[in-house]
Amino acid sequence: MEQLGLILRASRPKALATLVRLLGDFDLAEEAVQEAILRAVQAWPEAGRPGNPVAWLVQTGRRHAIDRIRRQAVDRRSRQGLAPLLEPAVEAPDEADAPAVLEDDLLRLIFTCCHPALAVEAQIALTLKTVAGLGLEEVASAFLLAPRAMEQRLTRAKRKIRDARIPYEVPQEGELASRRGAVLHCVYLIFNEGYRAAQGTELARDSLAEEAIRLARLLARLFRGAPEAGGLLALLLLTHARRPARTGRDGRIVLLEAQDRRLWDRAMIAEGRTLVDKTLRAGRPGPYQVQAAIAALHAVAPSVAETDWAEIALLYAALEEMQPSPVVTLNRAVALSRADGPAAGLDLLESLAGDAAMLRYAPFHGARAALLAESGDRDAARTAYERALFLSGNQRDREHLLERLSALG
């Protein structure tokens, strides 16, 4: 029975994607796939699993939806939106067996869920619900929302898709690159949500990160010819590989410097590294590939001291070119100071001191304080630590800063 659950879970998104196209309506398709799954649970253990589970679900779901439309058409002859769907649904040929068609439908579903005309939170919720196939409660709990609030968010998103006629199609060539970018970004945000400290239950966070990896795997396969998709998967794998070392026995976050590297997931690291090498060889680097390359350098280093910081600083410089941001510059400054000493890092940090957002950003002052302490300027370090403490709202970060401050003496 365990296996039946796995097959249904794997088949659901594809069946749903095809049903949305055939029925032209998200809600109707979701209900149809749910009904088909219920019938599969009843029928398959006895009759045996069909050769093509997705096609079975599509056909069963479609029949159910057509029955329902007919009943409603009788009940309410002019129910808007449903009547025109009746004919194509009945006439649709049995094409669901063709793998290429299924794959296209899944792409349509992904591009529709991650359409930029939908709010980012709506994109994430829709993607988790339909493409990843999570239940409403799972999606809601991952975002610390009541199921009812999450349901409203999803309903609003589906209404926008319907009212504004967000198309159910793979974008045209000219739009494709930027629309792919939006899809990758959505999965990246799902992963980050799973990683955000001190939010949600441990279980919900872990499963969210794992869902993001599963989605990234799917995108790396579907977006062939887009090295950034492989780059994203590699980045997520290499980051998630550190997860077992990220939380201490007392539940506190353990920073990279203090992590027990023997706990890192070596299989995941190996897969991530192979992917980075492969995608970078395509010669079209992008932000995800560069970040993955940085994560790979950390993953192979036996310790902080033995990390290739010079190479990491170069990679941050490349990332800065592609995606200029003071946070990236801050990371480059830290890498530079590890490679060439605190003065090099402090020089670069000075260039950020005019940035109003940075001046309110606790990690900026924390990093600057550490470099000042290292260069022997204890007074300036103390002031910077105090500034960081004043700005930090995170209890664990504050404890860490206090330890550093008292170590100054």
């Binding site: 808007q80 939106g81 359409h115 930029p116 005309a117 939908l118 709010a119 709506a122 609003r156 209404r159 926008k160 009212d163 504004a164 006629r165 967000i166 198309p167 199609e169 974008p171 045209q172 739009e175 930027s178």
Partner: protein
């Protein structure tokens, strides 16, 4: 001279309308249109879908960005609008992208629920559920 009468209203209040209130609002629209037609002034009118169906094109790095939601700034003011008939939002976005106002302003794209027009010299009625 052609004039546009731009209507502002609380969507919440409109959603809370009872059927009787809705009917009386529509009747008032009918009277207004009749009077305008009698005066030979009526050229057309549009009922927009709610702002929850809106998307906005805004200047970004490179191409204009597509965002969820209506245009909500007070500095820029409405300077004009186009009607385009498309099969999907993506096609409407494509037309919107060609407008020269994206550098400093924005273009909101909102589906039209209902349109009645005499611009072409004859009565024309269009609704999104047709």
């Amino acid at each position: 001279m052609l004039y546009a009468l731009l209507i502002f209203e609380s969507e919440e209040a409109m959603e809370r309308q009872t059927p009787a209130e809705f009917d009386s609002m529509m009747a008032a629209h009918g009277r207004m249109q009749d009077a305008a037609k009698e005066a030979g002034a009526f050229r057309g009118g549009v009922k927009l879908m709610p702002s929850s169906s809106a998307s906005t094109l805004r200047a970004g790095t490179g191409d204009a960005q597509v965002l969820d939601g209506p245009f909500a700034e007070t500095k820029e003011l409405l300077v004009g609008f186009y009607l385009v008939e498309c099969d999907s939002l993506d096609q409407a976005i494509e037309h919107g992208r060609r407008l020269p106002h994206l550098a400093g302003g924005a273009v909101e794209i909102r589906p039209v629920q209902y349109l009645t027009s005499l611009l072409a010299g004859e009565a024309f009625r269009w609704s999104s559920s047709d």
